[in-house]
Assembly symmetry: C2
Homo-oligomer: 301 residues x 2
């Protein structure tokens, strides 16, 4: 039996980078300290920030919520029901139970009520994943802006970020690389975006959430099958398993070298003619894609 | 039975990117055209260039030699005997046979005769691979410069290059990325370096060489076991197999974006105090590592 590096009690988890066994108590401490260090290092939340956590129903976002709560932060939660038959109903139910257990006021935004249809309901000549990401980012930000939140917290973790990074490097999506990172600051009508689980792995998050008896959505989104990001995550797991520490050094190296990919010119943002939100074109991608005649109003009454 | 895309004869190889079956004759034509296109696109050999091909004994360099010969180029060959017990004797024997079959005057340089020991013979606190690469590059260049060759051709292929690239990206070896590429031009006491197989895979090269009845060294270098580049090549194979074309787009994207990694300042090269070859320091890595009192003389008499 392995024993905790700090107290010698029976270990709960064996980490490989840094290599150590930890008991439940010291693992929770390790996990939350790591979250706090990421928050402080990237100056994610000023003292007075009004925080919104985006809960999908999965393990990651609820882990972020639990860790922030244990670290003394206050927040409200947002769930976006994407209208994916079967999957989205289950997700909304799970999120409601998560919030009952963990606390935190929950807001629910339902895509179908806003634009008349859900993700993937109609063939649109584009992969659902491509416009789902855009839709979620828009709605999270719009909800935050409409209701005075300063920052949107998401559950993106080290495995997500490295897979995304690898995909963008292999395809040389240079524009994305400059915007990659754990924190994007606030702008005009743009809430800040923060990923406090940026340095934690799927495995660590799973083991952390297991300790708190909260339900999580176990089924995968029906559209995620065959997504390239899954392939990239798989090969990164192989590399990590032969060279523990590769993933964390990969994202840290990216942050250090991000200036290589930053453009000199600032992109000028205009107001979307339909909803008034920032956009590079005339109408923003959300209003254009969903063919809206007027902007969605997400103010909580 | 699959049939050749061009002539309908029985196919010899099935390519996946671009997807097509080819007979022996059309495969050879495809292969050599690809080599020629790479040579022309990167302006590797001016009409009058004196070409030196570095033959290791493996399939890649001899494939380059056969293709160049069939394309009408003239060249001489260099084999560097690295003094790795067992492996290097076999390699030298194979290279001699290759040259008898293919033609091309062969020069052999033996590391042990020059510096008194072979690669990996003594524990030196550094992995053999790290100083072997430096040693080979030095000797190829010194031989070329001492004997008036303009360009050194090596057998680096698409699989080598993408593995190297992935490793350097994952570890953010930014300096290497700016120098990565199929062609490095000539400089003062620096022969140009060219990789005409840059866009061809291990599989294509293997099938090409199989058609010419030349022996190749089949055993692997005893020091290559566990090399990280093998791991990177393996995961790239997985990605390529799910998304054919990834590798070629990966290197082409790198070339297109190489300027991102190039430094503004030019590195000033001095003459090595021992051998007179270009170096950034006082003594070049070769003379320093092998602890030489005078430079090696590779002039052919």
């Amino acid at each position: 039996m392995r024993r905790c590096k700090f107290c010698g009690k029976e270990s709960y988890i064996m980490l490989r980078s840094p290599r150590m066994a930890l008991c439940e108590e010291h693992f929770v401490r390790y996990f939350e300290r790591k979250v706090e260090r990421v928050i402080k290092r990237h100056k994610m939340f000023p003292e007075s920030a009004k925080i919104l956590i985006a809960l999908s129903g999965g393990k990651d976002a609820i882990a972020a919520a639990i860790a922030l709560k244990n670290l003394g932060y206050e927040y409200e939660c947002l769930h976006i029901n994407l209208g994916i038959p079967g999957y989205s109903e289950e997700s909304e139910e799970v999120v409601k139970k998560q919030c009952e257990i963990v606390g935190g006021k929950l807001h629910v935004v339902r895509l179908k009520e806003l634009v008349g249809e859900g993700i993937g309901e109609r063939k649109r000549g584009r992969q659902p994943c491509s416009y789902c990401g855009m839709t979620k980012r828009y709605l999270m930000n719009k909800f935050a802006v409409d209701n005075g939140f300063d920052v949107v917290v998401t559950g993106h973790n080290l495995d997500d970020e490295t897979a995304f990074l690898l995909g963008n490097l292999i395809h040389w999506n240079v524009d994305y690389l400059g915007r990659q990172g754990p924190y994007l600051p606030k702008g005009l009508k743009l809430a800040a975006r923060a990923k406090p689980l940026y340095e934690l792995t799927n495995y660590e998050i799973r083991k952390y959430v297991d300790l708190f008896n909260v339900p999580v959505v176990e089924s995968k989104c029906p559209f995620s099958r065959g997504a390239k990001s899954i392939l990239y995550a798989k090969v990164l797991d192989e590399i990590e398993s032969e060279s523990p520490g590769t993933k964390i050094n990969f994202v840290k190296g990216c942050l250090k070298n991000r200036n290589l990919f930053e453009r000199d010119e600032e992109i000028e943002l205009k107001e979307c003619r339909v909803c008034g939100m920032p956009t590079v074109g005339d109408v923003c991608s959300f209003c254009r894609f969903w063919n809206l005649g007027e902007g969605v109003d997400l103010r909580v009454r």
